[in-house]
Symmetry: C2
Subunit: 204 residues, 2 copies
């Protein structure tokens, strides 16, 4: 940088822009879920986008009052750690053993690219999501469950069939949706039961 | 739907879920911009995700006070109309002649899938973005400009070279970033000048 730019291109702005460019990599982290219309695998960035909009249009179904802006930001950033840690499939029991540790290292590296105040804020909101103890994080988790369930159901349960997922596994994860939204869990439960009936989810 | 479900699966929730599934199609609308690392073309959904996070981490550079939640929602939904209308490249002068009309029809069809209150809210925020008259919409437009500029610059100006874009064209669009952020326009101007110097943007 020449002196001409030094009045605006501060170390702070440089850090913000470096982080903005780094998170572009999230678009290369692919999930097991397929897009509707029997499409390609979905990536983390578009999954996060979808969750944030769904959170906004479904916010009235949250069990508790929520700060919807916080939920949306939480949805948008919750998978950034997967840039380093990779996606761990919801029913990959081996992968889940190391997931916490991999994601914790990723969190430190990635959010440390930001200026300290933003770093602290993003780590706080990421941790809040992970802990799933507040109304906002419970509702964000409901979106993290409902969004792939919706896509998978629209594709005739293809992802469940391919991975030979059992009802117990699906309820183990999707059951937690009721912590965020009783209404959306009823919808979830209906969708799961229909897919068990059709043989897309195994019942043993 | 059987009677058992009728207590939760209201016409309202059905509309919300139909819309949520429909917007999945935005992930199939590809832009001219390429991902960093000389990657594939970017799609609208991941572009919107990227813009929303950038808006949050760069909000301090807005010329005016902004409601950042509104900016983020605006960023997330501003390209939904392209599901029907397709992406119009920023420097496609022919395409831009019909863009307004195509997007207006798309707006009606897509947002009409939502319950009336949400339909009105989304159309209002989409129109506000399009008119670019409020502090929030000016800052959202700054993100809509800065995000592809950043990616393109990271790829050595490949997109500008491929499309033989001139400095006049680039400034015609990117110049408006200063309405949202003087600081981010200074950064933009620096990046454009560097790319003119390197011959990535033609200077005639």
């Amino acid at each position: 940088m020449s002196e001409i730019e030094s009045d605006f291109y501060t170390e702070r702005l440089k850090k913000q822009m470096d982080f903005a460019l780094e998170i572009d990599k999230e678009k290369n982290i692919f999930r097991q879920t397929h897009l509707s219309g029997y499409g390609r695998n979905e990536n983390d960035a578009e999954h996060a986008w979808h969750m944030a909009i769904m959170a906004y249009i479904l916010k009235e179904y949250s069990n508790e009052d929520i700060d919807i802006s916080k939920v949306m930001l939480m949805c948008l950033i919750h998978d950034i750690v997967e840039i380093d840690a990779g996606d761990t499939y919801a029913y990959d029991e081996e992968g889940k053993k190391t997931q916490k540790n991999r994601e914790s290292m990723a969190k430190q590296r990635l959010f440390s690219m930001l200026p300290d105040d933003l770093k602290e804020e993003f780590i706080k909101i990421f941790d809040e999501f992970e802990e799933s103890a507040t109304p906002e994080s419970k509702f964000a988790h409901a979106m993290d469950n409902l969004q792939p369930l919706m896509l998978n159901n629209s594709n005739g349960g293809r992802d469940w069939r391919e991975h030979k997922v059992s009802a117990e596994q699906v309820y183990g994860r999707q059951g937690r949706t009721k912590e965020g939204s009783e209404t959306l869990f009823k919808l979830t439960d209906h969708i799961i039961k229909e897919n068990i009936k059709k043989g897309n989810i195994s019942n043993n």
